[in-house]
Symmetry: C2
Subunit: 286 residues, 2 copies
């Protein structure tokens, strides 16, 4: 567990999506002040307006540290999506440039390597990076169904196979999700991300290259065993459910406690409408 100091405000570095605000809401309800540090180009403008906030560009490490320090923060959370960081969305300030050799060094190897390196950089500036799941555990997927459907016996077998596969590829710093249908591994996620993997399976279905009939197959999502959850909690939200339905899957299984659900009520509604299950499953998270 973290040794976060609860009497200082929590700084939340916000990427895209609805999860950063869900974290801010949960932490506020616990009685702790929050200061948002939304990333320009990713964070939602209207949503962040509900809390004290200071916009920063990706790459303004010095500005970020100064703003957080001035706001009295010691603990920082980084949460939200950060798809396709492009050079023109980045502005490198002096502190970033000073640490650039270490940052670029971290780029060799997978995501975990990069993100742990960034964690150490914040620590070198006197901050403590904590996990969103530590300060707002209620945002995590709980065990059991999210909508009204539940997986059947064949689905449970597919889920077990997917979880085992994700565990096996964990040491390679790849694969937070897989799609398994009738015991057959259909797709394994790497750089493309879950949404594009689901779109690929929808395409394989249209092509007739999937043997399993529609309504068979499960998207299984779980954090890599080696993953540093302070940075990269897998998230499931309404788009996941819509794409899973388009791919003709029976449902979505998420390792309980290992991922965040964005907008759980909407997820449940969409899953019920599409006739698929969304379920938190037990496992052996690290």
């Amino acid at each position: 567990m973290s040794d976060a100091v609860a009497d200082t405000p929590l700084g939340i570095i916000c990427g895209g999506g609805s999860v950063p605000l869900a974290v801010a809401d949960a932490v506020s309800q616990h009685g702790r002040k929050v200061v948002l540090l939304p990333l320009i180009g990713w964070a939602d403008e209207k949503a962040v307006a509900q809390y004290p906030h200071h916009w920063v560009h990706l790459g303004q490490f010095g500005r970020l540290c100064r703003l957080a320090r001035n706001a009295g923060c010691r603990d920082l959370v980084f949460i939200g999506t950060l798809i396709r960081p492009s050079p023109w969305k980045c502005r490198l300030d002096w502190l970033t440039i000073r640490f650039l050799p270490q940052i670029l060094g971290s780029f060799r190897g997978g995501d975990d390597h990069l993100l742990s390196g960034i964690g150490r950089l914040f620590e070198s500036q006197g901050f403590l990076l904590v996990g969103a799941h530590e300060v707002a555990p209620e945002i995590l997927v709980a065990q059991g169904p999210v909508g009204s459907r539940t997986p059947g016996a064949r689905d449970l077998e597919d889920i077990a196979r997917g979880l085992a596969l994700i565990a096996a590829v964990g040491p390679f710093d790849v694969g937070q999700a897989a799609i398994v249908a009738n015991g057959h591994v259909i797709a394994l996620e790497a750089t493309e991300g879950t949404d594009q993997m689901l779109a690929r399976v929808a395409e394989l279905r249209r092509n007739g290259r999937l043997r399993a009939p529609p309504g068979v197959g499960v998207l299984v999502k779980a954090p890599k065993p080696t993953q540093d959850r302070r940075f990269d909690l897998p998230a499931v939200g309404p788009p996941t459910v819509e794409l899973a339905a388009k791919a003709g899957l029976a449902g979505v299984a998420i390792l309980a406690g290992g991922a965040v659900i964005a907008e759980p009520q909407r997820v449940a509604k969409l899953a019920d409408e599409a006739g698929i299950f969304v379920v938190g499953v037990p496992g052996t998270p690290s």
Copy 2:
């Protein structure tokens, strides 16, 4: 090794691509007669005309057995691509229908399960299914470069990581190929096949979602440790080289002895023109 009887003609069930003819040529040069059993809709009409041949539809298991038996064959090789078998390309004859429960049973689980089941079906009819690599070992990728380029130190690291990853996912009956760039696993093949995986990486490159610059990254191809090579030898040919170049990779590495090269001279020429390497690498094949 196979206990193939060399004084009987070899029956070659031909799928698509140029590899079936390369096998026929090699076996003929060894002094053994061949009889081709080309699959309607996949095998190349002009190419098969060079040898005694009898066309069959996919699904005509009874007809196939009768033709092979009449031609005096005991040993059969199945080789060539069989992409997207559609119901309208299949014609089920009586023997196929009789064995349909077993065939459908084999569909549960991965490719290996299905193919081993089909192997046992041929054995039940008195045939011996042998591997193309057993009767024509010269079609296999040899150790060393195919064109004039060779992998550098970083490429060799990526190749080692790719081979280790493919070995790790082998028990899940998935993944004969992976793409690794700068130590980072970019893509892992499942149902989509190597060509589509390469196209996906080209797209990730266009999107700016790949961190590695063009000219970094290797396609690594190796048979799954559990794979029955009598059915599913991975193949590399001119399209592989063209797609690898489009994906901005440094080259293609194939486990020596573990895959077939279709049209090696053209592969070498295309690789040199694109400035990428194609290399057979040592490993620990099963």
